[in-house]
């Protein structure tokens, strides 16, 4: 469903996700959806609303409350030649299906010596900020990026939400797509001339000279806000949207940091063993001699997510903290 010629199409991130699913379902009869409450209820975040009516029960399948079972079924379906798109309501519930994802989806191609591919797409909502506390606010996309065999996508813009799914369906390997819960209501414009995106490269969302702010997903917009704040002080920050956490586009990261010589990584996950740790280490390994300041990061506070809203806000990366961290590197006090 492309935009009419010459006009920008304005939609929410949620709507972009839905249009991507519709496009996929219309284009290929092997594509079908599975997940809890995606059919009759229309999806926990209303992404799949109306799809059951349009495509029917065979292709929009409400599953029982058992992630291990329906992710396993998705793996089996993919092995048998279908193109399932499994929705796990949130990354928090994916823990119940971790064995399927890690020990089956990620591993069967390798263990079978290439006899089986698992062209499975799993979509998950992720992240905090909705006041749903410790067990429902995780950001595990960085954890999943640890696992060989998986591709990890983190669309942060309307355009990426609209088109990364289509790219994911062309990948013969399992692809996990993480949609941050705070992005669903975000509105933006699709450029009419764009009808596909790559699923391998990072993108510079804001060019700058003084410091590279490297981030992804739900933190992108806070990072852009921080860059705006810094601009008013005469500090020109570059914002790099990773888009893909595995495999990391290290070339883009190194190119940016080699130019600005300073880097702050913004990652909603807990810092220990996080994707920010991996990126920092790669920078230190490969372009150490380009650095003109220590590496820094802004991460989620290392506690189970609190329920009280002021505590939750204090535990998530915020624009002020990102700006302050970058400022300290450029103008140390």
């Amino acid at each position: 469903m492309n935009a009419p010629q010459g006009s920008a199409l304005r939609m929410t991130y949620r709507e972009a996700c839905k249009q991507a699913l519709r496009q996929a379902l219309l284009a290929d009869p092997h594509v079908f959806l599975m997940g809890e409450d995606i059919g009759r209820y229309g999806g926990c975040y209303a992404v799949t609303k109306g799809l059951l009516e349009e495509f029917g029960e065979e292709r929009i399948r409400d599953t029982p409350l058992s992630e291990s079972a329906f992710v396993g079924a998705g793996i089996g379906a993919a092995m048998a030649g279908m193109r399932p798109i499994v929705e796990i309501m949130t990354v928090n519930f994916s823990l119940v299906a971790l064995d399927q994802i890690v020990n089956n989806a990620a591993t069967i191609p390798y263990m079978s010596g290439g006899q089986f591919a698992i062209p499975l797409v799993i979509r998950m909502a992720t992240g905090g900020g909705r006041r749903v506390a410790a067990q429902h606010s995780h950001s595990f996309e960085g954890w999943y990026a640890h696992i060989p065999g998986l591709r990890i996508l983190t669309p942060a813009t309307i355009e990426d939400a609209r088109f990364m799914l289509i790219g994911a369906l062309q990948d013969p390997n399992p692809v996990l797509i993480f949609e941050h819960v705070m992005l669903y209501n975000m509105e933006g414009d699709l450029r009419p001339e764009v009808n596909e995106v790559d699923i391998g490269l990072a993108k510079v969302r804001r060019a700058g000279r003084d410091v590279s702010l490297v981030t992804y997903g739900g933190s992108l917009f806070k990072t852009l806000q921080a860059a705006d704040m810094l601009a008013t002080e005469g500090i020109d920050a570059e914002v790099v949207d990773l888009r893909v956490l595995r495999p990391l586009d290290t070339k883009a990261i190194f190119e940016s940091v080699s130019r600005t010589r300073r880097c702050v990584i913004v990652d909603e996950g807990w810092r220990s063993g996080s994707i920010s740790a991996e990126i920092g280490m790669r920078i230190a390994e490969e372009i150490f001699f380009e650095l003109d300041a220590p590496l820094r990061r802004v991460c989620g506070r290392e506690v189970p997510m609190p329920y009280a809203p002021h505590l939750e806000d204090a535990c998530l990366p915020q624009a002020e903290i990102i700006a302050a961290t970058a400022r300290e590197l450029v103008r140390p006090s």
């Binding site: 209820y41 749903v132 290392e302 506690v303 809203p309 505590l311």
Partner: protein
């Protein structure tokens, strides 16, 4: 286990009040949730109060329960058939059932049935039920006032209880 137990007046009122308390407390939670005093998710239970009240009674040391305990040693699996009046969560347009169905079940609700049954056995009078409701409302109001008057936890405390120093007594 179909042993009939004789239940006295005080115990009956205790059970009814417990169910009323749950029902009214939940209604207050709904109101506070819509006013954004409670955030996140709110999952409702109205229509199912008999289950929790009944199970709690069975768990506490109690003359009635003693006889059950003497008879049973193994773990039991309880299947309780219930009907919840409100939607599963606040954000649920209830496309899976009709209003008429819900109304029919409301008439068969545990509080209505229990109250009717007690009334018929003359174990309770209408003015006693009103008094119970007033007392319960007062308890709830006091709880809300306590919450409203509360001080927000300081951000500096956010790491307390991430790990424990010792096993609590």
């Amino acid at each position: 286990m179909t042993q009939k137990v004789n239940l006295d007046h005080a115990h009956m009122r205790h059970l009814l009040k417990a169910m009323i308390r749950i029902r009214r407390f939940e209604a207050k939670c709904v109101e506070l949730y819509q006013a954004r005093k409670i955030l996140g998710f709110l999952y409702l239970y109205d229509g199912e109060e008999a289950v929790s009240v009944g199970v709690m009674e069975a768990l506490s040391p109690d003359a009635i329960v003693a006889t059950y305990r003497e008879h049973g040693q193994a773990l039991a699996f309880l299947e309780c058939q219930t009907y919840r009046f409100s939607a599963h969560s606040m954000f649920d347009p209830q496309l899976y059932r009709s209003k008429e169905e819900v109304e029919a079940w409301r008439k068969k609700g545990p509080i209505v049935r229990f109250q009717t049954c007690l009334g018929a056995s003359r174990l309770i009078k209408p003015e006693e039920v009103s008094a119970m409701e007033t007392e319960v409302d007062a308890e709830i109001a006091a709880a809300v006032a306590f919450a409203e008057a509360g001080v927000l936890e300081a951000v500096s405390e956010v790491e307390r209880f991430v790990t424990m120093e010792e096993v609590p007594a």
